[in-house]
């Protein structure tokens, strides 16, 4: 049961639904995990969001109309869950933070599962201070190399708007890296 259509067929049958869902988790767990991780940055938060995402997927199986691919639908749910999670956290922490993106930078610095060097930390900080939409588009393009057409389906945004978002994101990241890079150059 590796094919998406096979999984979907088995999900419709109550006797094979659970087994098929296990296959679905098994197939997409890593891709969804890394997609969420790049949005929320911290491992523990990612774990919570991933779990909520799969529960949402399970509860919404009946509403999946196969108008888009299974992969696109799963990514969309994961993206929405991540943004909802971040907004809730930001709202909670707003009283103690001067900037709402400070939450993500703190999250990044406190994450024990970060293996990157100083330069990679700088790049991640530059990405963290981008607006949510630009950050998601940048990550999907730069790290995951997802095509704009596919991204357009996942984020329900036009290709033109996505290209513009990516362009702005690249400019901002470049400026941030340039202005901070000299600090740790030998």
């Amino acid at each position: 049961m590796t094919n998406d259509q096979q999984i979907l067929d088995c999900l419709k049958d109550p006797s094979t639904k659970e087994l098929a869902f296990r296959h679905l988790i098994s197939k997409y767990k890593e891709r969804l995990y890394w997609h969420i991780r790049k949005i929320v940055l911290n491992h523990n938060d990612t774990d919570d969001v991933l779990q909520n995402t799969f529960i949402k997927i399970w509860n919404g199986l009946d509403s999946f109309r196969a108008e888009s691919s299974l992969f696109t639908w799963l990514y969309r749910i994961a993206t929405n869950e991540s943004i909802t999670f971040l907004n809730q956290r930001k709202r909670k922490m707003m009283s103690s933070l001067t900037d709402e993106n400070e939450y993500l930078v703190n999250n990044l610095e406190s994450d024990t599962y970060f293996d990157g060097d100083q330069w990679q930390m700088l790049l991640q900080k530059a990405i963290a201070i981008l607006p949510d939409k630009q950050r998601i588009v940048f990550n999907m393009k730069y790290f995951d190399e997802i095509k704009y057409e596919e991204m357009s389906e996942i984020l329900e945004t036009s290709v033109g708007a996505l290209k513009a978002s990516y362009h702005h994101a690249v400019k901002k990241v470049e400026e941030y890296v340039k202005s901070h890079e000299t600090r740790f150059e030998p």
Partner: protein, 149 residues
């Protein structure tokens, strides 16, 4: 604009986009079990709450019907009481004023006054006195012209 961007790629983009994050050891091995467990728990909670609702549904129905019947039965009385309360609260009390004393005369007194054989006090007055009284406001010319007519 985007082609231009590709030609003059920023410096940071020339480095490969490496994922600097990692997960705890064996993290992906147990995800299926954990998520399925959580889903079963959620399903159980859902079914428990739906069983409770199914058990309590007739009780809720009866309670709602009884409330409706009680409300319909008591509403007209409540309405009268409310009207009475409103009228007693907002109507001004009638003072025992002399100008309104005629309102306190009962019906039989009025009938007697109209149809009794008692002579009217006006009947005792002399016609000359009456003429003098009526013409008291007139001057001589006016009185003369009245008499001539």
């Amino acid at each position: 604009m985007y082609k231009e961007e590709e030609n003059s790629k920023p410096e940071f983009m020339k480095r490969p986009g490496i994922n600097p994050f990692r997960t705890p050891d064996g993290y992906f091995d147990s995800i299926e079990d954990r998520i399925m467990k959580e889903i079963q728990l959620t399903e159980k909670k859902k079914s428990t709450s739906s069983i409770i609702f199914r058990i309590l549904k007739p009780a809720f129905g009866i309670a709602a019907s009884l409330t409706l019947v009680y409300f319909l039965a008591t509403y007209p009385f409540t309405k009268n009481t409310i009207n009475a309360k409103v009228s007693s609260t907002y109507s001004a009390p009638i003072k025992a004023d002399s100008s309104l004393s005629f309102l306190l005369i009962d019906e039989s007194t009025l009938v007697n006054a109209i149809f009794s054989d008692e002579k009217s006090p006006v009947a005792d007055i002399n016609p000359d006195e009456m003429l003098a009284y009526l013409s008291s406001g007139l001057n001589e010319v006016e009185i003369y012209s009245e008499i001539q007519n």
